[in-house]
């Protein structure tokens, strides 16, 4: 018994990363960043507005949060739809009450299906970023590049035309990518993407079509991960968010501006028994000294101006 010789060879064992997409850099070695008006913590509230198709293909995997029952899985289809009909309007009230400027990550299929909601969002003027076509339109290792390029183009063309916004940002459904995704995103005019969770601040990411910026959108703190994946209570989610807020604020005082990124979903936190927990978290964060609520692109621009 033995393994192929290559298993004990390490061709990438040298300084830096084992790929050339971005440079190795410790957060503490970077130039401190200042947010507008002397603020310390940028609050980026990112709202997933998602469409989970009833006829889910699950290629190459079933998207987390998607259909799990035999067709037609009405319970999950309609419960996810709840977020876009009911939950989101609770969210909007909460954002206005606490002076939060949210960013909406929208599946293009959802934008096509809900002109009323898109009108509401356009009227508000908050930033909209592209969350892919729909939750079952995954990007994945080994995906055909032409097919993926067409998928990205369809999503961006549709969302740009329906929202009238330039659409600078991208989150892949399930944050899943192929090896080509960053190149294709940059080639289609995307400036920043949020799939890589390896930092608490933005950083430059190389692509065949120029530089993308990776924006830090924590998975570990998102509502779906904490409440559904981990099974923690709603109160525990609030506690974790508040602890993160305290920690990042303290770190920002020593090391320069930080970002608290909350990725949340109206089908989850928009339920009647959970919305008060979102309000409690927003109340806590926005009552701290030095918090600046802003859209993802606005935070990015401020960061970029100091690099």
């Amino acid at each position: 018994m033995s393994l192929d010789k290559a298993y004990l060879e390490y061709p990438e064992r040298s300084y830096g990363m084992d790929h050339d997409r971005y440079d190795w850099s410790m957060l503490t070695d970077r130039k401190p960043v200042e947010w507008p008006k002397g603020n310390k913590l940028a609050l980026w509230v990112n709202v997933g507005l998602q469409f989970f198709p009833l006829n889910q293909q699950g290629k190459p995997f079933k998207v987390p949060g998607g259909m799990t029952m035999p067709y037609p899985d009405l319970r999950h289809f309609s419960l996810r739809d709840y977020g876009n009909r009911v939950g989101i309007y609770r969210f909007l009230k909460a954002f206005d009450r606490y002076g939060v400027s949210p960013t909406f990550a929208v599946n293009s299929r959802l934008a096509e299906r809900t002109p009323y909601l898109m009108e509401v969002l356009k009227e508000r003027g908050d930033e909209i970023l592209c969350h892919g076509e729909h939750m079952d339109a995954l990007h994945y290792g080994g995906q055909d590049k032409t097919e993926e390029a067409a998928q990205i183009e369809r999503a961006l063309d549709s969302l740009r035309s329906l929202t009238g916004q330039s659409i600078r940002g991208w989150i892949s459904p399930a944050k899943s990518e192929s090896a080509n995704t960053p190149d294709l995103l940059a080639a289609h005019g995307i400036e920043y993407f949020c799939d890589w969770v390896n930092d608490d601040m933005p950083y430059g990411f190389r692509t065949a079509a120029g530089e993308l910026i990776a924006m830090p959108l924590s998975t570990e703190l998102e509502d779906f991960f904490v409440i559904q994946n981990n099974g923690h209570s709603e109160d525990s989610w609030v506690e974790q968010v508040c602890d993160a807020c305290d920690f990042l604020l303290a770190e920002a005082r020593d090391q320069g501006g930080r970002i608290l990124a909350l990725n949340i979903h109206p089908w989850l936190l928009g339920q009647p028994h959970r919305i008060a927990r979102l309000e409690k978290a927003l109340d806590y964060i926005t009552s701290q000294e030095g918090v600046w609520s802003a859209g993802a692109g606005e935070i990015l621009d401020c960061w970029k101006g100091q690099q």
Partner: protein, 314 residues
């Protein structure tokens, strides 16, 4: 395949010869930060997939990178605040990839022990010679970059062969004589050190490393809340401290800089460290120091006691 690996004999947790740690401490307390490198495109292993999906495994790879880019410095500062020198379970390729981290830990006189080359290269399927070569490479790498003679081992991604402990101990002796390859963290059967049977007969000990206190087990496998993890640590300590009055115990917190150092988790960990280190009779130490102390003072006594009880409780 065997029914039992045969590394140790049954040895009841009562009426053992009393262990006294330095300065009358009841608990030997150590923290083992795993500082790991996972590859984006590792080669296939016939028995274990490194990532659940085809490359690139963006989620799994990038959160581990977060640990090195962001988390390490946070954890190091918290440990330093409470006077804890880390005993690093090291993916030794990290010496090449991220020498800045190695330098920071060296400056603080932390211990480095081997956790293989990469945490995406598994022992499964290796020949004896291949595993020996991999272990030797890891120990030589630690020596080259830190000057330390590697004393401990935690197999990469806890992937073992039947010979893992033998090979580690043998390579340790070949490279560094009695100072190298003296303890393992791979066994979870006890709260005190245990003499380990090796084919070479070398004096070698298992040092409790605790899977239950491991942040990745707590957060990823058991999926518990940060505050509950903090409470588990305090409760674990309370009982070991109490029992340590009768005979010295060991408490270890194995950590990962991509778990414990997330902004929503560090507070609970810090509170637990504060709690533990505020007690008087705690020996805040490292894996190597515990192993050396035990080998020097209690290894022979323990062997004799185990042998005397082999036939029964009398």
């Amino acid at each position: 395949m065997k029914e039992d690996p045969g590394f140790y004999d049954y040895w009841a947790y009562q009426n053992r010869p009393k262990i006294e740690w330095p300065n009358g401490a009841k608990v030997a307390f150590w923290v083992a930060p795993n500082i790991e490198f996972y590859e984006l495109n590792p080669p296939d292993n016939p028995q274990r997939k490194p990532w659940p999906q085809a490359a690139p495994a963006v989620g799994g790879y990038s959160i581990r990178d977060y640990g090195n880019r962001v988390g390490h410095m946070r954890q190091m500062q918290v440990l330093e605040k409470y006077g804890v020198r880390g005993s690093i379970s090291l993916s030794t390729a990290l010496c090449d990839h991220h020498p800045e981290i190695i330098e920071l830990c060296k400056e603080r006189n932390w211990e480095f022990f081997s956790h293989g080359i990469y945490n995406t290269r598994y022992t499964y399927g290796m020949s004896e010679q291949q595993e020996r070569d991999m272990i030797r490479d890891s120990m030589e790498t630690i020596y080259k970059h830190t000057g330390q003679k590697c004393a401990g081992y935690l197999a990469p991604a806890l992937s073992h062969s039947e010979l893992t402990l033998d090979l580690f101990a043998e390579v340790g002796s070949e490279l560094f004589g009695e100072e190298g390859g003296i303890y393992t963290c791979d066994l979870f059967h006890d709260d005190q050190p245990t003499p380990i049977h090796l084919r070479s007969g070398k004096k070698f000990v298992s040092i409790p490393y605790s899977l239950e206190m491991n942040d990745t087990i707590a957060y990823v496998v058991n999926k518990i809340e940060p505050r509950r993890y903090g409470q588990n640590i305090k409760d674990n300590f309370d009982r070991l401290y109490q029992e340590g009055a009768d005979s010295g115990t060991i408490m270890c917190i194995p950590t990962h800089n991509y778990q414990v150092s997330c902004p929503h988790r560090l507070k609970a960990f810090e509170e637990a460290l504060d709690y533990i280190t505020s007690h008087d009779d705690v020996w805040v130490t490292t894996g190597r120091e515990i192993a050396e102390y035990f080998l020097e003072n209690y290894y022979d006594v323990a062997l004799a006691d185990i042998a005397a009880k082999k036939g029964g409780a009398a």
